[in-house]
Amino acid sequence: MQIEREQAGEDVLLKVAGRLDTPNAKPFEASLLEVVNTTGGGIVVDLAGVVYVSSSGLRALLVAGKAMRTAKRKLSLKSLQPQIREVFDISGFSTLFEIS
């Protein structure tokens, strides 16, 4: 798993690539929370390079989403590949996040 970070105005864009699986979930969650805790704007997670996601990866996004909601900030997702989108749809996560 790789994460590239860019500043986009007041928001942070995180370009994630690779596998959001159980072994990678904790480092992924820690990376997300580090951005949540050290920035003040919105966060956009670009999943174009993600080829696999399991419920552990979803959980990491939910933990970050909850922290952002508590802080009254916005976390959104973009560019999900079809199989990744299917996992979000089945688990109900498609309606929890703004996805573009």
Binding site: T22, P23, S55, R59, K66, I90, S91
Partner: protein
């Protein structure tokens, strides 16, 4: 779910892994190698890999709490009739039947959403059948994919 499985199905290949989160990657790599060698359809491979990972995540996280015996986790690739792929996951942890896990409620907001509980939901979606047996001191979970040709 249907349980048209054959527990006595011949074993085509087996893998034993450690009871750690990182060892789940050994199992998914093993499946990936088999998928490549046998040219499994991409969607079938994705769904089976995800289902095996979800099952193993439960096993390594919860199965061995308070268990004295040395943890054992084995995956068997099963020879099935028809056009399906079967994987049996055997562990000697505490009894746990994932087929009894209730579907999580569909959350309406991030605030309401519960952390966890989605693994079995994903397995039910991607597999044709998911069946559980407790045999002696072992959990046997059999995952069967949908047909390769659909």
């Amino acid at each position: 779910m249907s349980t048209s499985l054959t527990p006595q199905a011949p074993i085509r290949a087996s893998l034993t892994i450690d009871a750690t989160v990182d060892a789940i990657a050994d199992a998914t790599e093993w499946l990936g190698t088999l998928a490549e060698a046998e040219d499994w359809p991409m969607a079938l491979k994705f769904g089976l890999e995800l289902s095996v990972e979800e099952a193993l995540a439960n096993v390594v996280s919860y199965a061995f709490e308070g268990v004295d015996a040395a943890p054992m986790i084995r995956l068997d690739l099963l020879e099935l009739d028809g056009d399906r792929i079967g994987v049996r996951i055997v562990d000697n942890g505490i009894p746990f039947d994932p087929t009894n896990v209730a579907e999580p409620e569909v959350p309406e907001s991030v605030e309401d959403a519960k952390i966890g509980g989605h693994g079995v939901q994903l397995m039910r979606h991607f597999l044709e059948s998911l069946a559980y047996q407790r045999l002696g001191n072992e959990n046997h979970l059999i995952l069967v994919t949908k047909p390769k040709t659909t």
